[in-house]
Every structure is written in C-alpha cells, then in structure tokens.
C-alpha cells in the first residue's frame, strides 16, 4: 500500500477526512446532542495535530515530501483552527468546510511536487471563500466572499501560470531547483500568488473586506492558519532558489506591507477592519522574516524566527477576534468605557493588544525581536529601521484602543450584541489565547527549543 499511496505520510489529513465523514454523519442525525459537532471538530483537529507531531520526516516521490518545517507548520494549522472549532456555529457544513481547509493546508505542507502544492492551495482556499460568505451580516458577507473568491482564484491562476513556466525550465513537476529566466519568471509569478494569499501590499485589497464581513472567529482562522499557509508557500518557493529575484525582493515587500498596514489601520473606526489592517502589518513582518531567512541560506533552524512569530500571532490574533465575538463590540465608539463595564474582559483585551503591539514582556515582543534580529543579521539595516517604525505606528492604534477602553468614561448604552451571557467556550478560548500572549516573552528558551525542533534535534 505504501508504494501506491503513502498513508502514513498523510495520517493527519486522514484524521481530518475522518472528521469530515463524522461531521456529515452527525449532520444527518435527526436529534443531534448539543456539542456533538463541536466535539467532533476539536477532536479531529487535535488528532491531526498529534499525528503531525508524531510523524517523522520522510520522502514519498513524486508527490509528497515530509520535512521538519512541513510537519511543524501542519501542527500550526491545526492549532490555529482550534479556536474556530470551539467558537463556530454548530452546523455540519462549516465544520466540514473547516476540515477541508485545514486538510488542504496540510497537503500544501506535505507537498513534494508542484501539483500537490497547487492542489493544497486550492483545497484550502475554496472552503475559506464559503466560510467567509456565511457571515452574520448576509449581504456584506456574500459580497466579501465573492471578492475573496475572485482574488483567490486570480492567485490560483497566477500560480498555475508560474508553475507551467517553471516546468518549462525544469522539465519536471518536482519541487527542485531550476535555473534560467523561465524559472525565475515562474518563481516570481508563484511568489505573487503566495503574496496574494498572505495579503501583502499591493495585493491586499480583498483582505479588509473579507476579514470584516466574516464572523470574527472565522476571521481569526483566516488570519492565523491561512496566513501561515501562505507564509509556508512563500518559504517553499524561496527555498527553491534562495538567491533568486523573488527571495531578494521579499524584504522590500515586507517593509511595504508592514508600513502600509500600520498606517492604514490608524484611521479605522470599525474594530474588525482595524484588526484586518493590523493583520496586514503583521504579515509584513512575516514576509520580512522569510526574506531574511532566504538571504541566510534557507536552513531549517533559521526558520525558527518566522515559526515563533506565527505561533505568537496565533495566540494574539485568535484571541483578539475571539474577544470581538465574546464582547459583541463592533466599533471603537462602543469600546469607550469598556473597562468599567467588564473589567476582566478588558484586562484580557489589554493583554492581547499589548502583545499585538510588541511591548515586552509579551509574546508579540519576542516575535518582533526575533524577526528584527534576523534582519540585522542579514545586514538589512534599513528594513530593521522600517520594522521599528511599523511597530511604533501600530502601537499607536493599539494604545488608542486601550485608552478608549480604560480611560474614557462609559458612554451610553452598550450595543445589544454585547449584553448576552458569555459561554464557557468563549471564556476558555480568550484565556487560553490571552495569557500566553502576555507572558511568553519571558521565556526565550521556547524560541530556542523551536529552533532545535526545526533543525531536527
């Protein structure tokens, strides 16, 4: 069986596929016990994460290749989807869509050939379009889903075109280096598709609408797992040719993205849209990290900075969106005086915002530090300065949100969505995201451990 279909290499994906089956079966039940679908979702994701963690690197030509980076990223995808699994509505279709998306991401991580890469890319994107269009505000959600679909399909088409050019240069679909102008052009197009997926400036126009119109927990999933998948795609491409034009232009894209995201977020009044632009800014740091990694030869251990950033961002972003869902707030005006109404939730929000801003001793600070460190190691001092500027500007709006919540007097009636009771799942997710965000900066040995894991020790 192994020669025909390497089952053990795809064990996490099989767990997720089993989850899809279980979800559909659960959906067919006439009287479904409450929480069944949630349990199915969480257990399938945890099983996939555990299986990914237990897998060993192996190669299964021509389609699959499991390496340390791929396996670590698979864990990241599953864990990034957990908050969504806990918070999402109890309907079998969104759960199955979530599984499908994470399955696609896993395929992308395990890809040894461009075909599998493309398959994973499309498989992870299509359910995401649908998840976005299922938002609460139907008209907006459908429009945003359509925009996301068009942007993502364009990205897929670009990727295919780049793939064919690369094939023309390398004569094989395997993920192997190739040289020549055709290969460079192919890599550039595929890199553009990856940047599209991450939401890099100037290919970011779909992102604020998609994040704002989707349900907050879905937006959290998009901002963490989907971005991680895009970053992995970019890393795979940069790995093929670390000295290519694509790899060399990445720091510039990173700087553009982080600065544009930070400045654009300053004017936002709607919280979910503000978080979307802040997500763009963080993506800029990730792209800069990938560029610095490629400039240093694209080794395994060097990816620790980007990996840590994605882990920290997983906690911060999921926490922030979970807060939006729990609190029911949608605009900055509604945030005024929040700390007097709900002191505990406001404290968690403050922890998450400080982490997003990169203030010590939070996890976000250590993440930014690692990326800036890699940048300085490469000699990209201008990019490091730009990173510092972006961190400062983004702190401007995070502090403004904390100021609104804490220092302003409570104004008027809270919005109706804010008055419902918070479920234990919501509180659990918020705590589980906010506390690591606030404190992980004290423990740089975690980053060291990750570097070790990534280099195979």
């Amino acid at each position: 069986m192994s020669s025909f279909l390497p089952i053990e290499a795809l064990a996490p994906q099989l767990a997720l596929a089993a989850g899809v089956v279980a979800a559909l079966l659960a959906g067919m039940l006439k009287e479904r016990p409450r929480g069944l679908l949630r349990a199915v979702a969480v257990s399938a994701l945890l099983a996939a994460a555990l299986l990914a963690g237990a897998s060993l690197p192996s190669a299964h030509p021509p389609l699959l290749r499991l390496d340390r980076i791929g396996l670590c990223w698979q864990e990241l995808f599953c864990l990034g989807a957990l908050p969504l699994a806990v918070l999402m509505e109890e309907d079998e279709i969104p759960v199955a869509l979530l599984f499908g998306s994470v399955l696609g991401m896993g395929l992308l991580a395990a890809a040894g050939s461009f075909l599998t890469l493309f398959l994973g890319l499309e498989l992870m994107s299509l359910p995401a379009y649908l998840l976005v269009s299922r938002g609460r505000r139907e008209e907006e959600a459908r429009e945003a889903g359509l925009k996301y679909f068009f942007a993502g399909s364009t990205a897929g088409a670009l990727f295919l075109l780049g793939m064919t050019l690369y094939y023309a240069a390398s004569r094989s679909l395997a993920l192997a280096p190739a040289s020549g102008p055709l290969a460079q052009a192919g890599l550039a197009l595929m890199g553009a598709a990856a940047l599209f997926k991450i939401g890099a400036v100037p290919l970011h126009f779909w992102l604020p609408d998609a994040y704002e119109a989707a349900d907050p927990e879905v937006a959290g999933f998009l901002s963490t797992s989907m971005k991680a998948a895009g970053v992995l795609l970019l890393m795979r491409l940069a790995e093929l040719a670390p000295s290519s034009a694509l790899a060399r232009v990445l720091p510039a894209f990173g700087v553009m993205t982080m600065l544009a995201g930070a400045f654009l977020a300053l004017r936002q009044q709607r919280l979910q849209r503000l978080l979307a632009y802040s997500s763009i800014s963080h993506a800029g740091f990730m792209i800069l990290g990938v560029g610095a990694w490629a400039a240093q030869g694209a080794t395994g251990a060097g990816a620790a900075a980007v990996y840590y950033y994605l882990i920290a961002y997983l906690f911060m972003s999921n926490g922030a969106f979970a807060f939006l869902k729990t609190s029911g707030l949608s605009t900055r005006a509604q945030l005024r005086g929040y700390a007097q109404r709900e002191p505990r939730l406001a404290a968690l929000l403050a922890a998450l915002l400080l982490s997003l801003g990169g203030v010590p001793p939070t996890a976000g600070f250590l993440a930014k530090l690692l990326i800036l460190w890699e940048t300085v190691r490469c000699g990209l001092y201008g990019a490091a300065l730009a990173g510092a500027l972006a961190a400062l500007v983004s702190l401007g709006y995070y502090l403004a949100l904390i100021r609104d919540a804490y220092f302003e007097p409570a104004a008027g009636q809270p919005p109706p969505a804010a008055l419902r009771r918070h479920s234990s799942g919501e509180r659990l997710v918020l705590l589980a995201c906010a506390i690591p965000s606030a404190l992980l900066g004290f423990f740089p040995w975690l980053a060291g451990g990750l570097a070790g894991v990534l280099s195979g020790l």
């Binding site: 025909f4 559909l24 067919m28 055709l182």
Partner: protein, 118 residues
Amino acid sequence: MTALAMALDAAFTLALLLVFSNVNRWLGPAPRHEGDGQLPYETGMPPIERAEGSMAVAYYRFAVLFVVFDVDLAFLLPWALSRPVFGAAAATAMSVFVGLLLLLLAYLWRKGVLECKR
C-alpha cells in the same frame, strides 16, 4: 532569447485581444438609434419580458451535483481500465473514494436537496 519570445508572446496576445474587442466598433457601420432599433427582433412585436430571466436555484444545485458525480465517473473510468495492474491497493482506494461519494449522496438525500419542491 526566451525572454524575448515571452515578451513577444505577451504583446501579441494583448494585441489580438484588443483587436478582437474593438474591431466591431472600428469596422462596423455607425450605430443608428432609431426608436426600437436596439431591441431584439421578435416578429415586430414589442417583447413581453427580458430575455435573460432567472431560473430557480434548484436547477443550479442539480447542475453542480451532476458535475460532482460526473467527475466521480471520470475517476472511475481510468481506474476500471487499470485495476488489473494495481490490484488490491487500488481497489481499496477506489472503494474508499466511492464510499465517500455515496456518503455525500446519502447526506444530500437526507437533507432533502434531491427533492423538487414547487
């Protein structure tokens, strides 16, 4: 050399595109708007309603489901032809695949997607 070829290819495609989009406007006669001259010709009678109209979404659903099961068939055909070569492994794999699609069919049946309601 290859770069030049690619550039020429792109330029030619673009040129062709532009020509095809606009040749009607350039070479055709000047449009004359005389009363109902723009309306589609229906034996001289004024049209009762727009030609496009909208169809029930159920038709679209059936069309999509047809495509899904048609692709299922597209996978089954090469499998059937190559099964003697691969043996038990291939049989298991295809059984799983068809089983999943049957599950999907059961799910759709259960949810009432396959019914025609007026």
